[in-house]
Subunit: 469 residues, 2 copies
């Protein structure tokens, strides 16, 4: 049997896999990179890159422009970047690239089945599993295959849907709802939950919901798709026992969560532990099997490109410099959603704060952007900055921002939380006027007003619940 | 003679004056507020507020919309905010408001001449001079008064100029050039300098210049206005001995710098020191005369609303709590310019760095945004992040950002420089993908590549020029 040996095999050429492959290869290591589909993974092909191109173009779209040209441009830009990344990987002197599906034969051997059904075997000292995730699919009886979209097919559309029904109300659903609405499509969301973006704090849903309504995007809550009637182009949705029609729907986008790409890997043969939430790893991407690592969406870590990248960087560092000191604590992974306005969060969630601290110890501070001058000039109705902080010390525990540029504003808080910069320090900082960031000035004023006049009370509370608590 | 006594008199109800007046009044002090024109000063009336409203509306302007309606909306929003601020000041229980021009009679007395020529006298323990600045005017022979605009009159326009000539290429000139061009006006700039925005680093001018050209905004350098010919609607400009025509100009905006409002104050009678650059103050706004303070544009401090606010806050703190410890060092004042893309800077300028450190000690790191994914998806051609850092230690000395959201991105660097967060710490931070801020990841990678493989060289350089230098 033809068997090739490698030091490192990376399975999956998405954000996480590419970070590890190029990280190792750029430092002189030989790498075999196995990819079943396109180089670039979700991010380049069916995620961030085409969606942000679409969102950017939709922002500048106006009546009289051709929405189909926008869709064509999204596909063109995506393909250009994909080709570039594929070329880079195929021509990297230290990377061998093979197309196909990988599965484990043992803890140090994989079998790769190519597009032509040819089978190759490889073994290696180290494997890096970065196979990512794929959209979860449900059947909608009566709906033709070409009418069902997921994030994997929507960026290949050449014609703007007349009425796009979106099943789900999570990040992908909301980002695409805003973008397709701006291009002129009618958009309706159908969600099993009681609010949009249910994984974000309630305040976020309360800010985004009216922004959807303002644009004429209807959301049906506690409902799901039932069946489609082709003659009348009607999608029937179901809420409990009630079935109701959504009229004139021509395309349906499924955005109801993601399934980790684990099943075809035959992980059992390598003895790698996993469960419903993904392949189990420690803070350096190590699985229970020595020499087998996992990174990105296939693990339980936050499912963002930047977290896959950051994990990849940590894994490369640990593999190449195992004796260098490295913080066991993973860095903070911010979240960001490119809705309009954008959403970004970092730090502890409410739930984590409530688990860790007595409620008397912490303080929620919120400034609505419409109360500051930039919110007024820019007509921002529903944005805010919300900070959860420790009383007395002013330590920042978590930050939630809903603002036109939230994804750029959040990194200040990532730094503040990581470096333990308190509200007292943020209070002394000067923020350019008139920016949305200048709300940080107001929010630190609010902290000072809550703290300084009641300093003895705050001190006693802190002693009681934090020191002796 | 009718003489009223006050504890505190604030002269000027702009950003700086309002901060002091409401700061003192909210803490129970009696304040007389004197204003010659409108409450809100430049920022509310003829600066940030109307210009950012205009910039925001211009961003969303497209063919088929009515530019004159945009101008009317700018005026409406400005007036609403002005009325609100005026009302707040006039009805504040601790603030007496008087309309008129103030001048000093002595170090503890002023005379105020009202709009009806009535004269009142006031004395006080403390005076806060916040009279700001006004646009510098040059005459353009042949041009009718109503065709000459400054930032004080341009937001009262009811009709979009056909061809707006702007004399100057500083912040006000550039912000308004982009905005009026987007509304459909033809825009031409005439500048005595050799590049746009000459007070910013050269790299900034090099990024903004092609963005102006891309939009069809022509800049005539090393030139100034000569005269105007009404019959042919031609503005003649002069470069050295050559006079050349700029055709079909109907309005001319003067944006050639600002003059501090000092001359009418009779500062000599109070014995207050000043020069061409403004009233001389220390880090707490104190002039050479005990009890007389100055803040904002009338001083040599950076001429931004946020610096006037910050100065005002420091002054209030020092006046009310003189024994509280307060850093003598003023906070960092960032700059921001709302061009397209935006510009923001913070920290030491190149010039200050060159004066303070040997050139071998510092490192300039630059990442162009077109090299990162968000720059690609959003078609950003000329943005960048540029950091000047100390070799070896990675201490950040100055940051310059040209990016669509530079004014929101800069506060991360204000914090990093103030708290001495090094490039090593920024390297470990995770930035949301795909944001412009993720360029910080790339720039810290570049620092690591420059430093780690040459650590002994960097260490020797540091010892030689920093420790023993």
């Amino acid at each position: 049997m033809n068997m090739k040996n490698y030091q490192n095999i990376v399975i999956g050429a998405g954000s996480g896999g590419l970070t590890v492959a190029s990280g190792l290869a750029n430092l002189g290591k030989q790498v075999l990179l196995v990819e079943a589909s396109h180089v670039g993974g979700d991010c380049t092909n069916v995620g961030c890159v085409p969606s942000k191109t679409l969102i950017h173009l939709a922002k500048h779209f106006h009546p009289g422009m051709d929405a189909n040209k926008v869709l064509a441009e999204v596909t063109r830009k995506r393909n250009w970047l994909r080709d570039k990344e594929t070329e880079e990987m195929q021509h990297h002197p230290n990377i061998d690239f093979v197309q196909g599906y990988a599965k484990f034969v043992s803890a140090n051997e994989i079998e790769v089945t190519g597009p032509d059904e040819s089978v190759q075997h490889f073994n290696a000292d180290r494997f890096f599993i970065a196979t990512g995730a794929r959209p979860r699919i449900v059947e909608v009886p009566g709906l033709a295959a070409e009418q069902i979209l997921t994030n994997e097919s929507i960026f290949d559309l050449t014609r703007l849907p007349h009425h796009l029904a979106i099943i789900g109300a999570g990040i992908i659903a909301i980002e695409l709802a805003f973008a397709f609405r701006k291009l002129g499509a009618k958009v309706t969301l159908i969600s099993l939950d009681e609010r949009v973006l249910p994984r974000y704090p309630l305040e976020v849903s309360q800010a985004i919901q009216p922004e959807l309504e303002k644009r004429g995007i209807r959301v049906h809550f506690q409902a799901t798709s039932d069946h489609y009637e082709e003659d009348t182009r009607t999608l029937f949705a179901r809420r409990h026992d009630e079935v109701f029609p959504i009229e004139d729907v021509d395309q349906v986008l499924l955005a109801i969560g993601r399934v980790r790409n684990i099943d075809h890997l035959d992980l059992e043969k390598a003895g790698v532990d996993f469960d419903r939430r993904g392949i189990k790893i420690d803070g350096f991407g190590r699985t229970n099997v020595k020499g087998i690592y996992a990174i990105g969406d296939v693990t339980p870590t936050s499912a963002f490109t930047h977290s896959a990248n950051a994990q990849g960087r940590r894994v490369v560092q640990k593999v190449l410099y195992p004796f260098l000191p490295a913080s066991k604590k993973e860095p903070l992974y911010p979240t960001s959603t490119f809705s309009d306005p954008e959403i970004a969060t970092v730090g502890m969630t409410r739930h984590q704060i409530e688990e860790k601290f007595h409620p008397h110890l912490t303080l929620s501070l919120r400034i609505d952007l419409k109360e500051i001058d930039r919110g007024y000039t820019d007509d921002v109705e529903h944005g805010f900055i919300l900070l959860d902080v420790m009383r007395l010390t002013g330590r920042i525990l978590g930050a939630t921002i809903v603002a036109p540029q939230a994804s750029e504003m959040i990194s200040l808080f990532t730094l503040a939380i990581t470096r333990r910069v308190s509200m007292y320090k943020l209070y002394r900082q000067v923020y350019p006027y008139p920016t949305f960031s200048s709300a940080i000035q107001k929010i630190s004023d609010a902290f000072m007003r809550e703290t300084l006049p009641h300093i003895m009370r705050e001190f006693k509370t802190y002693l009681r619940y934090r020191i002796f608590g």
